[in-house]
Symmetry: C2
Subunit: 410 residues, 2 copies
């Protein structure tokens, strides 16, 4: 019988999802027709821009003509999209990224989770905490996480403490890691990393030869000028940081799947067995050739239009809509006397449970307000005592939810 | 410094591609304007069906309406596509596949290469040979391949001999493997596996508890009724075989990226550390949740139309066109007195070099006929002495090539 990777037998949050599902089912059984407002999802509600679909329809017409048909595209993505990214998302901020440092993908998660492929199993991984459990799971299945201890943490992972008193900014670890996951604007806390904090982390990474995997999925939500638009605004970051970005949240691409990864050519890793260092950009290109596909020509043409004046204006509109939702929720949470973070440069609000337990808060939201939120445990053990609200839902639903929250009795 | 997976430093065929590129560049430098006919690519030339794009345009219109917008889809794929696959590609052949045994993906390679994620590193892998070197590379990077020996084979991989005298059908290995890669219609040999041979292999897999990873990318090219349309036509195959399929070659989806994998729920693997067996279907679902995205709603709607009467007729037309190309090439190769296999139930023709060396044949094709073919070494050391021709090119180009081949002097 084929031997399986036993790491897959370990539990990744399934128990938490089961518990949520059970609670919802129980609620539904009693309140069959109660209109439940889902503020638990990271999925977006605004549709695609007509400009995007227009470009995609045009690209599709090309695909039906024999002379204009496109089969396999370049494995790193089409130059028209890469060039637009370089120009609008980096040159605008006086950051130089070369086209061969950009890799188009199906979204942040694909590459953030897949990045472990080119890293040795023995790297010591650190992550901010709370954090998307996909990063943890990716390291569990590649046997980099050690064993799960009673507190719900993995023995080989360094969890960076992010105290609420400090707006959930991570503290430097006692033990030097090889790789650090950072994610700002953060999911779930909604906090951003100010320039001077980011400078400290880049310096730490340079001084300690640490690789930063920087998840910038939500960077379009940043309106605060003191927060960098890319980690590469920080001097030296191109030596240590890989940045993961996406069109999912700012342009409604959650269902189209298009994002990209920046791997600067300056970053090297070390091979023990060969006793030499190697370029991560080149290794990733090798992996792409073996493992991956890029999104179709059609979708890349759709993404390209996001960099036109209309596209950029439309993204701004989208972001304003969601940040408007966040402002509505902030006001309501304040009126209810709840303590929260985020919702300013981020679509997420991280709310402290006044009862201590996130599950009690989850139950109260469900039963009294008919609102679905995410219990903090979904983002690891340090999420305990918090719940996450998403403002990516439809505005009329968010307003309805806000009214209920503002009127609830804590 | 982060430690890299040193397996990536090993060479995967790069030297062969370099050698091909150098030869082409040299040719181009001398014969600047000679019209080179590329018969080396597995990429298709026929455009998308208007029916496919019509469905995709309709789906795109849904994506711009707030009420009809689709964000993230189900991670296994949309039921409308899964149900069509179950009905038309399996029920038609009296094979029962449940909808939850189908996983929509971005194409065969994604899952065939990614499948190793859920398998233990210590599995002994066997593969037919010659074969797509992506399968080998996938096992090299996950450290399952051992060391590369002088003959170009990896020490831990069992290479199944496929003698030309036996139409490249594989022989049973001396050592029992845990996992076997089979691929029919085969790339590169163009040979198919007749029913009775497939029965022998399924029996071997059941008797020896071996997992078969069956690459059926080219199954639509099968016109011979003695060749099964799916491995699940063979009794017992649902206990041992995973089948990988694609819309790339039969429907022009090489640039859209859509395929699917069948993982029957009966198949289990064994966990050493947990001392128990586990269901591969469930493990794969877990992996999907952590690692992957499915193709967009738009592309899945496009794929769905391939199962309409028009879609099925159109696929038949496509296949006939490419098989027509193959027949043209067969005739020309015969006239030139060359020995070849394939090109009947497959788009590929595998031609024995009359000079012994594939490179000499490659040079002759390039310089005398201005035709680009693939030297057999691209498919592993046992490809030596052969070249591959693809009939997936445009018909007028194929006819031009055929005239040149028929007139060449061996």
């Amino acid at each position: 019988m084929a031997l399986i990777n036993s790491q897959f037998l370990k539990v990744f949050n399934d128990d938490i999802q089961d518990r949520i599902d059970k609670k919802i089912n129980r609620f539904r059984a009693i309140h069959r027709d109660a209109p439940l407002i889902a503020l638990d999802s990271g999925d977006v509600s605004l549709p695609l821009s007509p400009g995007v679909t227009e470009a995609m329809v045009k690209a599709m017409a090309e695909m039906t003509g024999e002379a204009t048909f496109k089969g396999r595209g370049p494995m790193e993505g089409y130059p028209f999209l890469i060039d637009a990214i370089v120009k609008y998302n980096f040159q605008t901020y006086k950051v130089r990224i070369d086209p061969d440092e950009v890799f188009i993908n199906h979204g942040t998660k694909e590459d953030l989770v897949g990045f472990g492929d080119i890293l040795h199993r023995d790297n010591r991984i650190a992550t901010i905490d709370p954090v998307s459990q996909d990063y943890i799971a990716a390291n569990v299945i590649s046997n980099r996480a050690g064993v799960l201890n009673e507190s719900g943490q993995w023995s080989h992972i360094i969890y960076l403490e992010c105290p609420k008193e400090n707006d959930f900014m991570p503290e430097f670890p006692k033990l030097r890691p090889d790789v650090i996951y950072l994610s700002y604007p953060n999911n779930p806390t909604g906090c951003v990393m100010p320039r001077q904090v980011m400078e400290k982390w880049v310096k730490y990474a340079i001084d300690n030869e640490v690789l930063i995997l920087f998840d910038a999925t939500y960077k379009s939500f940043v309106t605060d000028p003191s927060v960098p638009q890319t980690i590469y605004e920080i001097k030296g970051a191109k030596k240590v940081a890989i940045e993961f970005r996406s069109f999912s949240k700012n342009a409604g691409f959650t269902g189209l799947h298009c994002g990209y990864t920046i791997i600067p050519k300056d970053i090297t890793g070390y091979s023990f067995s060969a006793d030499k260092s190697a370029n991560l950009n080149a290794l990733w290109r090798k992996r792409l050739g073996i493992k991956n596909y890029t999104p179709s020509y059609i979708i890349q043409r759709g993404a390209e239009t996001l960099f036109s004046p209309e596209g950029l204006a439309w993204i701004r509109e989208n972001i304003n809509y969601y940040l408007g939702n966040a402002a509505i929720l902030r006001r309501a949470l304040g009126e209810a006397g709840l303590k929260y973070w985020g919702g300013v440069n981020s679509p997420y609000l991280w709310v402290e449970s006044p009862y201590g337990s996130s599950w009690k808060m989850f139950d109260k939201m469900l039963e009294e307000c008919n609102i679905l939120c995410s219990p903090g445990e979904r983002f690891g053990p340090r999420g305990r005592g918090f719940v996450r609200f998403s403002s990516l839902a439809n505005q009329s639903r968010v307003m309805m939810a806000a009214t209920r929250i503002a009127e609830m009795k804590i």
